[in-house]
């Protein structure tokens, strides 16, 4: 079976699709190719099992449309010729993991026996061919109380149970690592201090202070500040400041091959929302993620289990990607003091989750512990909010049962699923107190949603009275589907809660 995976966004977005690529490529008889944005080709040596790498240069196509000295037709011809070549491979299945309109149209153009993920058909209708991708479409950007991690959505949509992040270390990477001449003794802490967006950056002073605190705590530690060639100047300044404070820090301007080799050697990576964070999923390094600005850890947080995510409690976080910071100062960054982050890192290195929980309950920041649940889904559980964790566990199981249509089977998997939830609760909250916290309240919320949804559905003969003067049948249908889904989710969740409650009673 010939499969093409389309991922046309940035490096970090592509790395998030690696478990899907590994999972599909390892199925018997599968030949897997990828179509990526040109800069992603630098990952090719690290990703196993891809037969052919197709690429599009999005920036060049864009340039061709705008520049007066390039023929109007050049971008059109080049895109058509590339996609015709792709179509000539006669793929059995094309999977779109990009979820942009651009990719949707491209998928519409590519000929294949079957398509999965967003694509526009020849009648201009948007298709997904999977409830998971429809979910992604509805929840990709909207502010919602809980949302699935993108890697989970991709894995579930492709019917994959395991997240295999394996990436292949290369000789080039090992040689870049050797060039750093790292000492053999003492813990290695790597900092990826710069991100692609100023809003996501923690201040340079905060990073310097953090590394100083970590060094003072254990003077055997050494530090590497990791970055791309374009970041060299700024990182050199940081290194200089650290050296003046007596902190032994090295500059690691490396390729992604080098970064992977370094992370395999590191004891801890402290990072903002970067592609390196996703690369660390394939390494042995433990990860502390600082989720600032527009970074939304729920959607794109570090996937590796037992990682720590620190985020601000600022009400404006996470902010929109495209807008500037709405505050006079960088509030979300300022709420994370270097001393608190250093203390959190120390407790994290000792795996002292109780101390981290205590700190989160009294601090200005949120602390999340990442976990691959027994249900197979990812969750960043908020250490200071047990109710949200219970809610998160229920949501994931509910979505899984609904989208995989497991709830429709004669012998519904509710009982087995609730056992998995209970297992996670037991591991997350070792003391029984509060393990089932909030179940009654959640049940009450479901009932309120049910009443409100049924009321909305009954408001007019066709379902919903649109706010605008013009009636869009498509919009009305979408809302009806939404409300219907809400009701169905509520029913499944109620059954899970009842099952959980009966199990908690059995425990008594």
């Amino acid at each position: 079976m010939k499969i093409l995976v389309v991922s046309l966004l940035r490096l970090g977005d592509f790395i998030q699709t690696v478990p899907v690529i590994n999972g599909l490529a390892r199925k018997p008889g599968v030949e897997l190719d990828v179509l990526v944005h040109k800069p992603t080709l630098q990952l090719a040596p690290l990703v196993r099992n891809v037969r052919k790498w197709w690429s599009l240069d999005r920036d060049e196509l864009q340039e061709g449309l705008g520049r007066a000295d390039i023929p109007m037709m050049t971008s059109i011809h080049v895109l058509r010729e590339t996609l015709d070549e792709v179509s000539a491979t006669e793929y059995d299945l094309v999977i779109n993991l990009t979820h942009t309109r651009f990719s949707g149209y491209l998928l519409g153009y590519i000929r294949a026996k079957e398509k999965l993920g967003m694509h526009v058909d020849e009648f201009n209708r948007v298709r997904f061919n999977s409830p998971w991708f429809r979910y992604l479409d509805r929840h990709a950007k909207n502010p919602v109380p809980d949302v699935l991690n993108y890697s989970d959505i991709f894995l579930q949509a492709c019917g994959l149970e395991h997240a295999d992040w394996e990436m292949r270390p290369t000789a080039q990477g090992m040689s870049e690592l050797a060039a750093l001449s790292l000492p053999d003794c003492g813990a290695l802490i790597v900092g990826q201090t710069l991100t692609s967006d100023a809003k996501k950056n923690w201040s340079s002073q905060s990073w310097t202070q953090l590394f100083h605190e970590l060094y003072v705590h254990d003077k055997n530690r050494h530090f590497v500040l990791l970055g791309a060639p374009s970041e060299q100047e700024r990182l050199t300044d940081q290194i200089e400041r650290l050296r003046l404070m007596g902190v032994p820090a090295r500059l690691g301007i490396m390729s992604l091959d080098g970064a992977l080799a370094l992370l395999n050697r590191a004891d801890l990576l402290i990072t903002g929302d970067t592609s390196i964070k996703h690369l660390a999923n394939a390494s042995r390094a433990r990860v502390v993620e600082l989720s600032l600005g527009s970074s939304d850890f729920r959607r794109t947080g570090v996937f590796k289990s037992e990682s720590l995510i620190l985020a601000s409690r600022a009400e404006c976080a996470p902010c929109a990607h495209s807008s500037q910071c709405s505050q006079d100062t960088h509030l979300c960054g300022e709420n994370l003091s270097p001393q608190l982050v250093a203390e959190a890192c120390e407790n994290f290195l000792k795996s002292d989750w109780s101390a981290l929980t205590m700190a989160a309950q009294h601090g200005k920041f949120k602390a999340m512990r990442t976990r691959r649940l027994h249900s197979g889904m990812w969750l960043a559980s908020d250490l200071s909010d047990q109710k949200s964790v219970v809610q998160g566990l229920l949501n994931r199981s509910t979505w899984k049962l609904l989208f995989n249509q497991e709830h429709r089977r004669p012998l519904a998997a509710i009982g087995s699923e609730s056992v998995l939830i209970k297992e996670d609760l037991r591991e997350l909250f070792p003391t029984s107190f509060g393990r089932f916290a909030g179940l009654d309240f959640i049940e009450q919320e479901i009932e309120e949603v049910r009443i409100s949804s049924e009321h909305q559905l009954a408001r007019s003969p066709i379902g919903i009275r649109p706010d605008s003067k013009t009636v869009s049948i498509t919009e009305i249908r979408e809302k009806q589907v939404d409300l219907g889904e809400k009701l169905e989710l509520g029913e499944i969740k109620k059954k899970l809660i009842r099952s959980l409650k009966s199990q908690s009673m059995e425990n008594l």
Binding site: I70, H77, V78, E81, T100, R101, L106
Partner: protein, 204 residues
């Protein structure tokens, strides 16, 4: 036309027409390398590179080395057209010369008509253009096709028919948005429209 053949400082032959040098008198090969380095967009992706101006031929050689594209050299001067081909030996399987003296002549040239049906990029050789700006600009506009007439010619060659009459306004300023609105695209094969819509997303 008086064409002189001189020897550059590095020993290469360069041409001079009416007192104007068509390549560097010091190092024409390095000049050609620099010239191509400033024009990298699409050159490794298109099927044909259409070069306006034969110059002293060094830029043509450089493109042969740097790309795998077919090279079509359009030279309005018949004399220069012949001298350059005597000065160098080009790989005739990849490089083709055409003596084109007007936009009408360009539209009638079979190799040009064939080239614009597939991906191509136009590169103007500045030294060749100097003193012959009018004809060079006319040929370039026909190939760049940012106006209704030129674009209609290219569309028709692909069997797609006429562009909408409404696009006659704002000559030279056609964009991908205009293309999406044209009746032609709306009525063309639906898959073609998906391509146009995809590209429109890139410039939003």
């Amino acid at each position: 036309m008086l064409i002189e053949q001189l020897v550059a400082k590095n020993g290469d032959s360069v041409l001079r027409v009416k007192g104007r040098l068509l390549a560097s008198r010091f190092d024409p090969r390095k000049e050609a390398t620099d010239w191509v380095a400033r024009r990298l967009s699409f050159i490794d992706k298109v099927k044909t590179l259409i070069i306006l101006g034969a110059g002293s031929g060094y830029h043509i050689f450089e493109l042969m080395v740097r790309t795998r594209a077919e090279i079509l050299v359009l030279e309005p001067s018949l004399d220069l057209f012949e001298v350059v081909q005597r000065l160098h030996t080009f790989d005739s399987s990849r490089v083709r010369f055409e003596n084109v003296q007007s936009a009408k002549g360009l539209r009638a040239t079979a190799s040009v008509r064939q080239a614009v049906k597939e991906s191509f990029r136009v590169l103007v050789h500045p030294s060749s253009r100097s003193g012959r700006e009018k004809i060079f600009d006319e040929l370039q506009a026909q190939l760049i096709a940012r106006d209704w007439g030129s674009l209609t010619w290219q569309w028709k060659l692909q069997g797609l028919g006429d562009l909408a009459e409404t696009l006659r306004v704002d000559a030279g300023k056609l964009t991908i948005y205009d293309l999406e609105q044209t009746e032609l695209v709306q009525n063309s094969v639906e898959r073609e429209r998906l391509l146009i819509k995809a590209l429109r997303e890139l410039v939003k």
